[in-house]
């Protein structure tokens, strides 16, 4: 049915004309350029990572010193956030209340996952690097890209505003389980609509919408805008991870959006989607019609939230892959197996969600299904880590700062993954569910895992974006202190968890003192590590901004001697990215090719005329 009447023009994209000068607002604020948008996501995301970290530091103060007001800033905090802090029995302000601890816990989780890691790892790096790596002039839909950032920005504003409403922000966990989440933030002292939980839901709806628009863009760009010669098997590994991540976001987020609407309706219109019949609150029968199910929320929530954790890890693995290939001066081992593993991982991630729900009274068939799929999903994860590890074998390893972070990712992610195994079986999960063991497990994957990969990515691609290198000495100090302190925070969590310390006790376990006494002292150790880790990040923040102005200038467009296309652009890349038409002649990791004159051959370098290239001609081969 494609009876195309003749078009009289060539492909005129609706990208704006670069003949006229864009004003300040269109160039830096409402930009449609993927690089500017990537940086916008990056700055916003890093700011939220910092905020989430601060929330955590307050929580850790409480855990180490229950009932003691926060020092120095305590009074100010209480003035600003009366719902979170109150005065202790001796009238010293700045003590974290029980509700306040729940608030910080819920917001720390929400902010880190949806406003920190995903915007930085997926949106910032994806937007900046991926179009460059496929050889495209920009993303497929620049206007849509701009819309998705600003939708995300609106969600940030909404989420932050919840700190300043009566009753404070959401306090029912980042998981927002009903009935608690439906009845919380209601009553005489709280506004019927402008309250923490409702605002949380609204913020999530906008966040999800921005995410969906962005993932459509990513997939379309990856499929449609690859440069001539960029066949699927020549795609850099990072692009593969971004592609699969985008699919996970596209398909997994909508059920949570649906569930978010339903919880909003429960709160605003009194429906009973998640309220069971005969619910009693505070000893009184509530007036809801009932007939709903709290389990329904859990299913819909975890249907997203499990693929979400793979969204958190896949771009990280992608970045680590790029950096390892570059710093070992050899191709990635098992590239094809890794690509296959990512697809299998992506698919399986949709059918494991109820392993977060083993304690909800499910029967043997259901739990058997989920235990099986959960154990199966460890296989592609192991393939990925093993292939990356094997990529180090026989390489000429340069321990640049990005490489330090990238190689450390491997054992850290390994610990995170291995500690997940007892959680996969409902027999052992029976004991470990909702303990600090779980917190240790997932933080190992995300904190010394993904966040280290993000650091690696920042150090690695910073020269391309800024034209200057970040300070190497400061980078190494940042690395060594971070790795020590981060393990100091999270390793003892396994010990506490196995002893039975629950994950949401606001007093650090004091109430259960006799039972968990042997492990209680770790709270102090972990909190001190957390503060020292925070102090270490100041080095990174300083380095980041200082190097923009005083960093060592890059010697050329390709300071790392890398092979992928993003290094083929001017530094920083201009509008349209490439100064000449790009054609791809070879795979992404042609390092140390026998007989070549350099130890790396860029993807876009034409083959020498006397050596007929094995690569196919620059037609659009599939």
């Amino acid at each position: 049915m494609a009876t195309a009447a003749t078009t009289h023009s060539h492909d005129h994209g609706h990208g704006h004309d670069d003949h006229h000068d864009l004003g300040f607002w269109q160039k830096y604020i409402f930009s449609q350029d993927h690089k500017v948008i990537g940086i916008q996501y990056g700055i916003t995301g890093l700011a939220f990572l910092f905020l989430g970290f601060c929330l955590m530091m307050i929580m850790r103060w409480q855990l180490a010193n229950p009932g003691v007001p926060v020092p120095f800033i305590g009074p100010a905090l209480q003035k600003l956030f009366p719902a979170i802090f109150s005065s202790d029995p001796n009238n010293h302000p700045g003590m974290l209340t029980a509700d306040g601890y729940n608030i910080l816990g819920a917001m720390h989780g929400t902010i880190m996952v949806f406003f920190g890691v995903v915007p930085v790892a997926v949106a910032a790096f994806g937007n900046y690097v991926m179009p460059l790596q496929v050889g495209a002039p920009d993303m497929a839909f620049p206007k849509l890209n701009m819309a998705s950032y600003w939708t995300f920005f609106v969600s940030c504003v909404i989420m932050l505003s919840s700190f300043f409403v009566a009753g404070g922000p959401a306090k029912s966990g980042w998981t927002s389980y009903p009935p608690l989440s439906v009845i919380s933030d209601s009553g005489p002292n709280v506004h019927p609509f402008f309250n923490g939980q409702t605002i949380w839901l609204l913020g999530m709806v906008f966040n999800i919408t921005g995410s969906l628009l962005g993932s459509i863009n990513t997939i379309a760009t990856c499929i449609q805008l690859r440069a001539p010669g960029m066949t699927w098997m020549r795609l850099p590994f990072f692009c593969w991870t971004q592609l699969v991540t985008a699919f996970l976001l596209l398909l997994a987020f909508p059920p949570l959006e649906a569930a978010g609407f339903m919880q909003l309706m429960d709160r605003a219109f009194g429906t009973s989607f998640f309220i069971p019949t005969g619910l009693m609150v505070g000893g009184h029968l509530t007036h809801w019609s009932g007939g709903g199910s709290p389990l329904l929320w859990q299913h819909l929530f975890w249907f997203l939230a499990h693929p979400e954790v793979y969204v958190l890890i896949l771009p990280a693995i992608g970045m680590v892959g790029e950096i390892i290939a570059n710093n070992t001066r050899k191709p990635l081992y098992g590239y094809k197996a890794m690509v296959g593993a990512i697809f299998v991982l992506g698919f399986l991630s949709f059918v494991v969600w109820a392993h977060h729900m083993y304690m909800t009274g499910m029967g043997a068939k259901v739990s058997g299904f989920f235990q099986t799929t959960t154990v199966m999903i460890s296989i592609p994860s192991v393939i990925l880590v093993t292939a990356l590890l094997l990529s180090l074998w026989g390489g000429s390893i340069r321990f640049t700062t990005p490489m330090l972070f990238a190689t450390t990712f491997l054992p850290m992610f390994g610990i995170g993954g291995l500690t997940g195994i007892p959680l996969a079986f409902n027999s052992t999960d029976l004991y470990l569910h909702d303990t600090y063991y779980v917190i240790g497990h997932f933080h190992y994957v995300v904190a010394p895992g993904t966040i280290f990969a993000i650091f690696a990515g920042v150090y690695y691609w910073y020269p391309k974006a800024c034209g200057r290198m970040m300070n190497d000495v400061l980078g190494r100090i940042h690395f060594w202190f971070s790795i020590i302190f981060i393990n100091g925070i999270f390793f003892p969590m396994f010990l506490q968890g196995i002893a039975g310390v629950h994950r949401r006790w606001y007093d650090g376990g004091l109430t259960y003192d006799p039972i968990i006494k042997p492990v209680l002292h770790w709270n102090n150790f972990m909190s001190v590590s957390a503060f020292l880790l925070g102090a270490t990040q100041l080095i990174f923040i300083f380095n980041f901004f200082y190097s923009i102005f005083r960093g060592r200038r890059v010697p050329n467009d390709n300071p790392w001697d890398a092979t992928t296309l993003e290094w083929d652009t001017p530094t920083p890349p201009g509008h349209g990215n490439f100064t000449k038409p790009i054609t791809v002649y070879r795979g992404p990791y042609e390092y140390s090719v026998p007989g070549a004159d350099k130890d790396f051959t860029p993807q876009s370098e034409p083959p020498k005329s006397d050596k007929p290239a094995a690569a196919s001609t620059p037609a659009l081969a599939h």
């Binding site: 609706h14 007939g291 349209g576």
Partner: protein, 336 residues
């Protein structure tokens, strides 16, 4: 700077960018409505016997709406075909018809269907009191026939009996005056005050009024409750529930929950409003896009008619999807 493949398809995929994007978007929409449909399945399977209402929706009206949407879908694809043939007037005619049909769909849904429900009233009787109200519920007869019981009495609310604390009496009188209500029976020695209401929203106002307790409801019954043992009511009716002449008084202490047919009435209505509401918003979004392409995009047609045709194709795909969702919503909610 041009983005490749905005209009001309890329040879190895056979797609232009926007077409891939809309299919991706539609996939996410499948998951969105799928999430809501799975909620429907979950809620319906978990409902106690008799607590999932049937026959609350007007099937003939729903059928009409379905057919309107089908015709509008055909109009959109004909509009696209007209653009391919470069017939602008014809394109405008077809797209305009689609807009008109879509608007009629929304008007019927909101001003007739939903509006009618907001004025309908229902009380869920407590299980232990069913025998007292058996003349309306007919549960003994249903049990003998092996059919699910009826837990609810529905109809149109006429009067509400309230008891009010003496210090709040003045406030209540202000409320009655503000809402234009009538008092039919005054309080005499501890007996309750009887207020004629215009609709269930007045009862809600009374419920929320401090110091006022509702004692009883007087309502005109739907015909099924006037004659509950009539075999024609064994299977749910597909026509609008008509009111009978019979009036019943139901004591508030015998009632579990009561409300108009609004979202909070039952899980069925909650999921019904959620899905049809979200679907309605999607229709509205589509109509906005159509109006833009009808009146504000002629410049693109003159500059690059193929690009314009692609846009209509893409928006047409979205519209077909919205129609497709309704094709599933209609039988699931109206017929099953």
């Amino acid at each position: 700077m041009e983005i490749p493949h905005t209009v001309t398809p890329r040879p190895d995929t056979g797609l232009y960018n926007a077409k891939l994007a809309i299919w991706l978007f539609l996939a996410s929409e499948v998951m969105l409505f799928g999430g809501l449909f799975s909620a429907y399945v979950f809620l319906r399977m978990g409902a106690d016997d008799g607590y999932w209402p049937h026959g609350l929706l007007d099937v003939p009206v729903g059928t009409l709406n379905t057919i309107l949407l089908i015709i509008s879908s055909v109009c959109v694809v004909l509009a696209w075909a007209s653009l391919k043939m470069r017939r602008w007037r014809q394109y405008q005619l077809f797209l305009g018809s689609a807009v008109a049909l879509g608007t009629v769909f929304l008007v019927i849904k909101l001003s007739y269907e939903w509006n009618d429900k907001f004025h309908h009233f229902g009380t869920f009787i407590k299980k232990e009191k069913w025998s007292q109200y058996d003349q309306y519920l007919g549960n003994d007869y249903l049990a003998k026939k092996g059919l699910a019981p009826r837990p609810e009495i529905t109809g149109h609310l006429h009067e509400v009996e309230v008891k009010v604390a003496p210090e709040k009496k003045a406030q209540l009188e202000t409320l009655i005056k503000d809402r234009g209500l009538e008092i039919s029976k005054s309080e005499e020695d501890g007996k309750a005050l009887s207020i004629k209401v215009k609709g269930p929203s007045d009862a809600e106002a009374l419920r929320n009024e401090p110091g006022v307790t509702i004692e009883a409801f007087e309502m005109a019954l739907d015909e099924m409750y006037a004659n509950p043992t009539d075999p024609k009511y064994d299977r749910p009716g597909f026509w609008k529930r008509h009111l009978s002449e019979k009036v019943a008084t139901i004591k508030a202490e015998d009632v579990d929950s009561w409300s108009a047919f609004v979202p909070k009435h039952s899980s069925f209505l909650a999921i019904y409003y959620a899905i049809t509401g979200l679907h309605g918003l999607h229709i509205l979004g589509g109509l906005v896009m159509f109006v833009y392409f009808l009146f504000f995009d002629r410049a693109l047609y003159l500059r690059n008619p193929e690009h314009m045709a692609n846009r209509i194709e893409v928006v047409g795909l979205y519209w077909h999807f919205v129609d497709l969702v309704w094709i599933f919503v209609f039988p699931v909610f109206y017929l099953l």
